[in-house]
């Protein structure tokens, strides 16, 4: 009896000690169980284009959170076979959290046969100091039936902001205006001025905090930023831009996206896409937060200024010599970081991280019954991923060296 009580107490302590860091532990392959009504699950799959919520119990590592809400999610990744899921812990129970999280995303990985593009990118971004969600992998079971391998993605919300931006004088920096950028099908946008009417900004910048504030509070500063970027001559740009945009963080973000050859990011092939936009607490200054990077690692020779001339903000920044130099410097530093051989490793950080993640998910990916690609496709994607880092790092180092007017190191440029 005493032993049982001791074990129970120890188990309880163990459970209580778990945190979101354990859930997002990059070294672990998790198991997540969802208990739902079978009719709800069929309806969610049938109506996967809709955002209807269904109740579910979620169990991870022996802990169950009841009364959560799940819904289909994604844009191009929506699937009726292997639905991407958003899990809201406070959907039916006000203020309920799980591991202090209000929600999380289960990314179905249907657009990436390698399975690791996004998670490697987010780890790379975090290493470079770019605000990015934490990610891990999990086998997801619904009613005890394996649905497949998913990426567990931290939601961009006030908790993530607190983790990312920390505290200033004891004040947690998570009470600003957070927007999810919405890509509008058939209406690509490249930071051109959309006019003074805030209605033009509302569908693109979906507020995730302070939803009840006025339109001018929410979108007014965005309209102002876009207008000033479009209307201000190059020489005057820093004075109007820097109070409204963290330029250093922006250059780091765009350089990081370029390093990983992201085709569908800020300078994406169909306009801007895949980011959150955050106006810092009690400040007019904005920062970008990375999101949905599964179109990264497009090609090794992805130009270091690809489509910069198409985007008004990027073009104007690159026209200013100081910013231009800082961008190339940031990109060069990113490449150096990606290629850095860490202690105990025999290859650069990016290559080692890719290999580690691919090895971690290998069995689960092959056992995934719902993935829309074959195991041979996965094997080919794995090989292509592992072929990427070294040539890419060399290419970026060579090109940035040229751009900065530096002498290339021996062997960097072919």
């Amino acid at each position: 009896m005493a032993l049982s009580m001791l074990c129970l107490a120890a188990g309880g302590i163990g459970l209580q000690a778990q945190s979101s860091d354990d859930l997002f532990n990059p070294a672990a392959l998790q198991r997540i169980d969802l208990l739902v009504n079978s009719q709800d699950w069929e309806k969610l799959k049938q109506d996967f284009q809709e955002n209807t919520y269904y109740p579910a119990d979620l169990t991870w590592s022996g802990q169950t959170v009841r009364n959560a809400g799940i819904r289909s999610r994604g844009l191009g990744s929506r699937s009726g076979t292997k639905p991407g899921l958003r899990v809201d812990f406070d959907r039916y129970a006000t203020d309920q959290t799980f591991l202090s999280l209000k929600s999380l995303v289960l990314d179905n990985l249907v657009q990436d046969a390698s399975g690791v593009r996004e998670s490697v990118t987010m780890r790379m971004f975090a290493r470079l100091g770019v605000p990015a969600p934490r990610e891990s992998f999990a086998r997801v079971f619904v009613n005890n039936q394996l649905i497949g391998l998913y990426a567990v993605v931290e939601s961009v919300d006030k908790d993530m902001l607190a983790r990312t931006f920390g505290s200033v004088d004891g004040n947690v920096q998570n009470d600003g205006f957070l927007f999810e950028y919405n890509y509008l099908q058939g209406s690509p946008w490249r930071f051109e001025y959309l006019g003074a009417d805030l209605d033009a900004y509302e569908p693109r910048f979906d507020p995730k905090t302070k939803e009840d504030k006025s339109a001018s509070d929410k979108w007014g500063p965005i309209e102002e930023l876009v207008r000033l970027v479009n209307e201000t001559p190059g020489a005057s740009l820093p004075a109007v831009l820097e109070p409204r945009l963290d330029v250093t963080a922006f250059l780091r973000y765009t350089a990081a996206q370029n390093l990983v050859a992201q085709e569908d990011g800020f300078t994406g092939y169909d306009g801007m896409n895949n980011f959150y936009f955050y106006r810092l607490e009690d400040s007019p200054q904005h920062v970008f937060i990375a999101w949905d990077e599964d179109n990264a690692f497009a090609r090794q020779d992805f130009g270091i200024t690809t489509r910069h001339d198409e985007n008004v903000l990027m073009r104007k920044i690159m026209e200013w010599p100081d910013y231009r130099a800082r961008y190339f410097t940031a990109l060069q530093e990113s490449a150096n970081s990606a290629g850095q051989v860490e202690e105990g490793q025999s290859e650069g950080w990016l290559q080692a991280e890719m290999r580690r993640q691919l090895d971690l998910i290998g069995d689960a990916m092959r056992e995934d019954p719902s993935k829309p690609y074959t195991n041979d496709d996965h094997a080919a994607a794995r090989a292509a991923m592992l072929d990427f880092p070294n040539p890419r790092v060399n290419y970026v180092l060579c090109e940035t060296t040229k751009a900065l007017g530096q002498a290339p190191a021996p062997g960097v440029c072919p």
């Binding site: 208990l35 739902v36 009504n37 079978s38 009719q39 709800d40 309806k43 049938q46 109740p55 579910a56 119990d57 009841r66 009364n67 809400g69 959907r91 039916y92 129970a93 006000t94 009613n143």
Partner: protein
């Protein structure tokens, strides 16, 4: 519209006084067509216009044409009678059919009604909307009773009306019980109903008291329905008088049952009325992992009292001998009602939850005080003023999140032939 209707009402009053011919088109309390002894048809019309105010403001319209109906009601020989009534919208377009039925009532002890009409459940629900003591019915009458459906009943009375009964079979579960949410495509039968309904009332004190005793008019009753309930978000819902869903449907499957008790007592110019109703809906296989859940319950009651201060008898049609057009005050009636309707689950195990598949559903209820004045200035015309105070149990499910108490005021002008 209002002026025209009032004009017709005054004209009807005068025409009634002049009516002597009992064949053809006559005014016999209302416009009628008489074809001799075996057939007559009354032309009926009802209209009610509301003016409403809310605190806090919940974006409801200030004016509302609440009722606009026309119909025919008549007799075919002494064995049959019928009624046909249809609603119009504010643009004058036809909308819902209301009553469309034929009665065979040769025998008092056993008559038969077929067609579309109100199911025998709920005392207040079975009163005409324009015969109510208050502008809005109690919540149990609008949310828990089935109201009209297509079906057939056998009904009758005995012991000089001291005992009445109705028993019926209905196609679905009434207009108020119908399914409103998208249905699952499970391949199973998705049809609601059929529903069986029965109601018994009795003047239980009549044998015990003298012919002039006030308690002689006490009538109590009980009613029950039982119908098939298909799988889906198909439970009954809690809706405030102004259409806010304070309890949204939850997943159900199995049977829907109702049980109701009623009291009606109308001594002289006063009345006391009360009802208690509970609905019980199965949730077979509706839990997470498809386990059975405890029944979802809707439970409520009301008690009301009225007093005609001008002295007319409540039990009969209120006399208009002192109507305004004859120099009198008409009839003035004061009333107050308290009604409650709450929803939850039979099980109280574990923490209550708002999700529609919870074993222990977090309850929410609407508790309403209504105080009012009814003024009957003349035959066919009624003016009603009500003050309504609502109090919701769950502050997250109210017309304005975070606020639980609401005041509203409603005035109604209604004209009925």
């Amino acid at each position: 519209m209002i002026g025209l209707t009032l004009l017709v009402a005054c004209g009807a009053e005068q025409a009634h006084a002049q009516s002597t011919d009992k064949r053809g088109f006559v005014w016999n309390d209302r416009p009628s067509i008489v074809f001799g002894e075996d057939l007559h048809v009354d032309l009926r019309a009802r209209a009610a216009f509301d003016w409403r105010g809310f605190d806090p403001d919940v974006d409801e319209d200030l004016y509302d044409l609440n009722v606009l109906r026309v119909g025919l009601k008549g007799e075919l020989t002494r064995h049959f009678d019928f009624e046909i009534e249809r609603e119009l919208d504010s643009d004058g377009e036809w909308t819902d059919w209301k009553d469309v039925y034929l009665n065979w009532d040769t025998f008092d002890a056993a008559s038969v009604r077929g067609g579309r009409f109100k199911m025998p459940f709920g005392f207040e629900q079975n009163l005409s909307r324009t015969d109510l003591d208050f502008i809005y019915r109690s919540r149990i009458s609008t949310q828990l009773t089935p109201a009209r459906d297509r079906g057939v009943t056998v009904y009758g009375r005995a012991l000089d009306r001291a005992l009445t009964y109705e028993i019926g079979y209905f196609d679905t579960d009434g207009d108020l019980g119908k399914l409103e949410e998208p249905q699952f495509d499970t391949g199973e039968e998705t049809r609601l109903g059929p529903t069986y309904a029965a109601r018994v009332t009795g003047a239980v004190l009549r044998p015990l008291v003298g012919p002039d005793a006030a308690l002689r008019s006490v009538r109590v009753g009980a009613a029950y329905t039982n119908g098939r309930l298909p799988e889906g978000l198909n439970s009954l819902r809690g809706e405030s008088p102004y259409g806010f869903d304070y309890f949204e449907p939850v997943y159900v499957k199995g049977r829907r049952q109702r049980l109701g008790f009623e009291l009606d007592w109308t001594p002289g110019p006063t009345s006391v009325r009360a009802e208690w109703i509970q609905t019980r809906e199965d949730r077979l296989g509706q839990g997470l992992g498809d386990r059975d859940l405890s029944d979802v319950l809707g439970t409520g009651w009301y008690v009301s009292g009225t007093w005609i201060v001008t002295g007319q008898d409540k039990d009969q049609n209120i006399s208009m001998r002192r109507a305004v057009i004859r120099g009198g005050p008409g009839a003035i009636e004061l009333g107050v009602r308290y009604d409650v309707l709450g929803f939850g689950s039979a099980s109280k195990d574990g923490p209550p939850e708002r999700n529609p598949r919870a074993e222990h559903i977090l309850e929410n209820s609407d508790r309403i005080w209504t105080a009012g004045v009814n003024w009957y200035p003349m035959e066919h015309v009624k003016v009603v003023a009500n003050a309504i105070h609502e109090d919701f149990e769950d502050s997250q499910r109210t017309p304005k999140a975070g606020e639980t108490s609401f005041w509203s005021g409603v005035m109604r002008l209604q004209i009925v032939f």
